[in-house]
Structures are given as C-alpha cells and as structure tokens.
C-alpha cells in the first residue's frame, strides 16, 4: 500500500510552505483585500512563476517542469493554506488543464510556455446566470469565428490575458480560446465576497475565438476540466481548513474565560474535534482524487465529486467555527477569521457549488450500479 505522497513530494510541500511563509504572509493577503483596485499580488505572481509552480504539471516540451499532478496537489494545498491572492487556480487548474486535455499542438506550443513563465494569466468563462451550470444557460455564441455574449462571474477575468469560453456554435456547445486584449472584448471588475480573488463580467461583441476541442463536446469538456480543477481546489480547501483549525486551537489555548482557557471547555473541544474529523475525511477523499487525476483512472468523475463535496464541507465548517471560537473578536475586520470565511465561500463556489457536485456524485453512483 502506497496511498500517500512520496518523500520527494513532501519535501516539495515543505519548501512551498517555507516560500509562502516568507513571501505571502497575511499582510500580503490584506494588501489586496484593502485595495479594491488590485485583484492579485503581482510581485508574488512573478515569484511563484520563478519557482516553476505555474508549469509544474506542464510537460517539459512546453516549457514546464514536467512533474505529475501529485506535485501540483501539494503546491495547491500550500497556496490554499496561505490564502495566496493569485490567479493560480484559473490559470493552472482550469486553462492549463483545458489546453492539456483538448488543445491542438499549435495551441499548446503557443500558450503553455507563456503560462509556465508567468507571462499569461488565464480565466475560465462558462457561467451566465445564477444557478448551476447547464447547457440551457449558455447563450453566448460563435459565428464565423466571432464570439458574442456575456459571461459573469469570471474569476480573474479582469486581469486575465487568455479566456477559455463556453459558447454555442450552430446551437452546439464548444470551448473557445479568446485573447482578451483583442478587439470586441470589454470587461468590468465586479465587487465580490472575497476581494483577494477578483472576478469580472466579460462582454464579447464579435471577439475573435479559436475552437478548443470539437463542436458539441463543450459541456463534456467543461465538466472534464472542472473534474480536474475540483481535485486541485480540494487541496487548496484542505490547506485553508487546516490553518483555520490551527488558528482556532491557538486562540482556544490563549483565551481565558471564567478563570480557565476556553479550550478546556467541552463545547470548544468537541467543536474543534469535529473540524479535525471533517478535515481528515476531506484529506482522504482528496488523496483518492489525486490518485484518479494522476493515473487518468475511469473513477475520476466520482473521485473528483467526492473530493469536492468533502472539501467544501470541511473548509466551510472550519472557517465558520474558527470564527465562532474567536467570539466577538472574530467578527472584526482586524482579526483574520473573515479572510478564511470569505475564501471558504469563494473556493466552495468557483467550480460549481457542493449541491451540484452532490448531484453529480449520486449520478455517477447510479451509473456504476447499473453497469
């Protein structure tokens, strides 16, 4: 049995933590939070690119490090733990994975080296209205290579250079690559729940669009990208959830009420034990997702759904109960609890919410039971 990361992968994780501890302290996160005109930390982005993280799972032939997705998982956990204010997930988990899954040789050769080098930020533009993503809400369309329509919200859309857009061609969904600096694109930054992870509304009026993958396979491809992103996001969520638990524990040890540390009361102990339990369940489910992602197993859709459902539950619970453990101080702007509370929601929704993923999970179970 070898159901854990290797020593080399754990070493990479330790190094990533040291790097982010030094370069992405909470002041860096607040530097973005407190300045609405910024939606990520440019200096940190360059530093992360220099570490090679953006191309960790990109083959060497396309300028990446050529590591496996397991290495990307341990990096993701540390990015989540640090609440890093970066367009990392949009660029690496969504756009890079879409290019690796469906990109032509020319598309991969054109974009992946630039992504690895930190020269191109990506975004994944699928949703147009409230509610779970399905084919009926896709109104954007491409005619003669020109895209029209609007996507909202697009995480990192305000700062991205390259968008992967879901739009119909003669009524059939397809993914498209769109260069956002080109003509026919306007974007408007949105106010969001977690300002450390910005989002925008993208409006396309005849923007040049290049097909990514075949016509008619847009929904399936978008879902395949989201399966892969869900596993990587689960590691970010676990990183955040573990750190929220550590915060709660530190506070429970140092805060006294009625003459003793609040951590000696069972009401607090049991709360923190429950956070620990959910975090460990999420970690185990995410490991299974990591295995399925890395090996290309047929179980990936089910494993990704389980990883996502478990991680959404864990980070949300850890974030809200960490805040509760801090009492009134947890409700202030100065104390960091709300950063985790915001990020838990952001990560919990960005690849589709847990409710939709639960439905997907049970659908997979039904299919397997029939098969």
């Amino acid at each position: 049995m070898n159901f854990d990361f290797s020593d080399e992968q754990k070493f990479l994780k330790d190094e990533a933590r040291k790097f982010l501890d030094a370069r992405c302290g909470i002041a860096v996160v607040r530097g973005v939070l407190d300045h609405p005109e910024r939606s990520y930390d440019e200096g940190l982005w360059k530093a992360v690119a220099a570490q090679g993280w953006l191309g960790a799972a990109i083959p060497e032939a396309y300028g990446g490090l050529g590591l496996s997705h397991l290495e990307l998982c341990v990096i993701a956990e540390e990015i989540g733990r640090a609440l890093a204010p970066l367009p990392f997930s949009s660029t690496v988990y969504f756009v890079t994975e879409a290019l690796l899954l469906a990109g032509s040789e020319a598309q991969k050769t054109k974009w992946l080296p630039k992504i690895s080098a930190g020269e191109v930020i990506g975004c994944f533009a699928t949703v147009e209205r409230p509610g779970a993503l399905d084919e009926s809400q896709v109104q954007a369309k491409v005619e003669s290579g020109k895209l029209t329509g609007a996507k909202i919200p697009v995480t990192d859309g305000a700062v991205a250079d390259l968008a992967v857009v879901l739009a119909k061609e003669a009524g059939h969904p397809r993914l498209w690559l769109v260069e956002l600096a080109g003509a026919g694109v306007t974007r408007e930054a949105l106010e969001t729940l977690d300002p450390t992870r910005g989002a925008a509304r993208l409006v396309f009026a005849g923007a040049a669009a290049e097909p990514l993958g075949e016509t008619g396979e847009g929904m399936a491809l978008a879902q395949a990208v989201m399966d892969r992103a869900a596993v990587l996001l689960a590691f970010e969520q676990i990183g955040g959830a573990d750190r929220a638990l550590e915060m709660a524990k530190q506070y429970a040890l140092s805060r006294y009420a009625f003459g003793r540390p609040i951590g000696s009361y069972q009401a607090i102990k049991h709360k923190l034990a429950d956070i620990y339990i959910k975090n460990e369940l999420a970690r185990s489910n995410a490991y299974y997702g990591a295995w399925a992602l890395t090996t290309g197993a047929a179980e990936l859709p089910l494993a990704a759904a389980a990883a996502r459902v478990s991680a959404c539950e864990a980070f949300w619970f850890a974030a809200k109960e960490n805040l509760q453990t801090h009492g009134g101080m947890g409700f202030t702007w100065e104390v960091d609890c709300h950063l985790f509370y915001r990020r838990a929601q952001q990560l919990g929704l960005v690849a589709g919410g847990a409710k939709a993923w639960k439905e997907r999970l049970v659908g997979q179970l039904e299919r397997r039971n029939v098969a």
Binding site: F3, A252, L281, R283
Partner: protein
C-alpha cells in the same frame, strides 16, 4: 501514490493467501446470535490454534511468546486476506488485543510464562473487567473493592458491559484498594479466574434483543496477592496500558454506510413525488454518507501506508468510530423513513430491507457508546491530537470516599 503492494508485500500476501486456501475452515454462514455462539467455540479455538502454529496468530508478537515475530504491515495484510474467507467468530480479540498485552507489558515474569502462549493458541480466553455501574467513561471511578487479608485479597462489587465474560477463563480486574486517597491513586489491577467461586456472570439483555455483554458480580472472591498485575495503587497506570491497546483495536472503525443497499432501496420505493431515488433531499444525503464512508476507507489506507513504510501512523485513525457509528444510525433512520409505514415491520420475509436497517438502527446506539462514547472520543481527539487542556477535575485531589457519587 497507488494502491499496489510492494514486491515484499505482494509476496507475503500470496503466501498468506495460499496458506488460507489450504487451511481456512469451510463453514456455512450463520446468523449472529449473541451469547449463543458457544456452539462455534470449538471451531474458533481450532482455527486460532492452526493460525498460531503457522505464525499467523499475533503476527507482531515475539516468537518466544508464541507470536509470529512479524511486522505490523504483515498483520494488516493477513487480516485483509483472512476476511475474504468464512472463518469462525473471533472470541479472542479482547484478550489478545487488550488484556494479554497488558500482562506482557506490566505483568510478572511467571504470569507471562503462564498466560501468553495459551492465549495466543486459543486455549484460554480473557475478558476485561473495568466498567462499573458508577463509572463507564469515568473508569477510574471503580468502586469494586479489594481488601487485603494476609497473603490474599478479598473482592466484592460489580462490573458491567463485560464482553465474553460467560465464556472467558480469565479476567483483568481493576479494583479499589484504597478509598482514602484520590481516585487515580487507590486502584490496583489483578487477574482473576472467571470460574472461581464468588464470580457470577449474568447476561445483559440489550435493547436490540441480543446479549453480547454481561454483568459480573463478585461476592467474597478470594485471590492471591500473586495475582496482582503491577504495584498496589498502580492500577490506573496499568489500565492506561490496556486502554491504549483498546484504542488501537477500536480506532480503525469503517463501514457504517452501505450506499449500495440505500440505492437499491431508493430505486424500489416511491415518495409522493416519484421514485425515491429521484428525490433531491435523499440524493444529497446519499452523497454526504458516501464521502464519509469513503473518507474513512481511505483514511485506513493512509494508516496502512504508514505501517507499510515502517512509520508510526498519524492520529487520523482516531476518527473511525466516531464517524461510522453515527453514519450507521443516520442511514438506518433515513432508510426506514423511506419505507414509510412499512418501516415498522421486522419480518424479513415481508420487508427484507427494513429488517436489515432495523438491525442497524438498534445496534447503532451501542456502537456510539462502546469502547469510548462519541463524547469521550471527541475529548481524546481534542486533548491528545490537538493538545487542548483537560477539563477541570473536581475529584482530582479528593479522597475517593468523599467524592459525590450522585446516589
């Protein structure tokens, strides 16, 4: 990251499997009948002896004591392979999991020589005599008295929740030897002969209808001072050795949700809005149960991986029972609710699925309590894993006889 054996593990698994093929008894499955399982005792003993002779009983124990002299990963692999065969019930688990390891750690040399090997070989069975009517979670509140009389001790009192007391040969007994000092300091551990005069075993009739546990009464039971395990007043320290082993044994947990059974039920039953399987409320629950059950399964894989790598497993294995017991209860309750009025029927011929969910419903409360209640397990996670302080102990520095008992 994979689920594959290393070459060494694969070789051991193949060897264990072929040994089991050649030796595992062929036996028809029979329903669990609680206390009436004594009919299979002969088969259980024979199987244990056969394993011991081949080095597959107590695989991690030294060969000089009758064990296999092997590693933890070998023990895990053998258990996995053994579970694929239809082997007899295992009445030795408490003795070999808790009592005998305590004797091996704390006991006198002659006790080790007397007891370890016969226990490994299935000749003698042990039970654990800790819990009392006045102290379950608070095991150090034991009131069963042991009074010194020359070279003997005289025991009076009552134990409860004793698994297997009715077929056990020996018991590990935690008794109060000094009520004038604080509770943790006035306890002493003994081994006793369960067939001696002065020991009476009465089965407990559980809410499920089965009887898996007993009450054990002591009336002027006379034992030798040589039956003491550890020093006088050292009983709590010895008990912690036993309980440490209990947590290792119970910690694994697992199972709890059988999503296939729920899916089957939901694909056969209708709600007011259509097939139950299409009910969104139920579908969300199935997803929640699935990630808990799968999360536990992969948590045990992480533990096994640590063993496989020769490392000490992390504390994550402590979450097993606290998750699986409530999961079992929730699944059973929802399944019966789905059957609506039919859920009350226990006859498996009339309502095959509701009968099995009823069994789970009636066993789940016991699972949430036995081997550490949900609440105690959360305390343990908070204190031992997260490092939070103990609760205030009002009885810590008070003579045991002066502690309020509420009755």
């Amino acid at each position: 990251m994979d689920f594959n054996d290393t070459p060494e593990e694969a070789a051991y698994r193949a060897k264990a499997h072929s040994w089991l093929e050649a030796n595992a008894p062929k036996r028809q499955p029979r329903p669990e009948t609680g206390l009436d399982d004594s009919g299979s005792m002969g088969e259980s003993r024979a199987w244990q002896r056969k394993k011991a002779e081949a080095g597959y009983a107590c695989i991690t124990w030294p060969k000089e004591w009758g064990g296999g002299g092997g590693a933890s990963w070998q023990s895990v692999i053998f258990s996995q392979e053994e579970s694929r065969f239809d082997t007899p019930p295992n009445p030795f688990a408490i003795g070999l999991g808790m009592c005998v390891p305590t004797i091996m750690t704390v006991g006198a040399q002659e006790d080790k020589e007397r007891f370890v090997r016969p226990a490994v070989q299935g000749e003698e069975i042990w039970c654990q005599l800790f819990s009392e009517p006045s102290g379950g979670s608070d095991a150090a509140a034991a009131r069963t008295r042991a009074v010194r009389d020359g070279d003997d001790w005289v025991i009076n009192g009552q134990k409860v929740w004793t698994s297997g007391a009715h077929y056990s040969d020996f018991g590990l007994l935690l008794a109060r030897t000094d009520p004038d000092v604080p509770k943790h300091k006035g306890l002493t551990m003994f081994w006793i002969d369960m067939k001696a005069p002065g020991v009476e075993v009465r089965p407990i009739h559980q809410m499920s209808g089965a009887s898996n546990f007993n009450e054990v009464y002591f009336s002027d039971l006379r034992i030798k001072d040589s039956q003491r395990v550890g020093g006088v007043g050292e009983g709590w320290r010895v008990a912690l050795v036993t309980l440490m082993n209990e947590r290792l044994a119970v910690g694994g947990g697992g199972g709890g949700s059988n999503h296939r059974r729920v899916l089957k039920l939901a694909s056969e039953i209708r709600t007011l809005t259509g097939l139950a399987l299409k009910d969104n409320g139920l579908r969300e629950k199935i997803a929640d149960w699935f990630v808990q059950a799968e999360g536990l399964k992969y948590t045990t894989y992480r533990t096994m991986t640590a063993l496989s790598r020769g490392q000490t497993p992390g504390p994550e294995s402590s979450i097993g029972k606290v998750v699986s017991a409530s999961l079992m209860q929730d699944v059973a309750n929802t399944a019966m609710e789905l059957e609506d009025q039919f859920g009350i029927i226990s006859d498996p011929d009339l309502a095959p699925l509701s009968a099995s969910f009823q069994t789970a419903l009636m066993n789940a409360p016991g699972m949430r309590i036995a081997g550490g209640t949900d609440e105690i397990l959360r305390n343990i996670i908070a204190e031992r894993v997260l490092g939070l302080p103990q609760d205030v102990r009002l009885d810590k520095d008070v003579a045991f006889k002066d502690i309020p008992s509420g009755r």
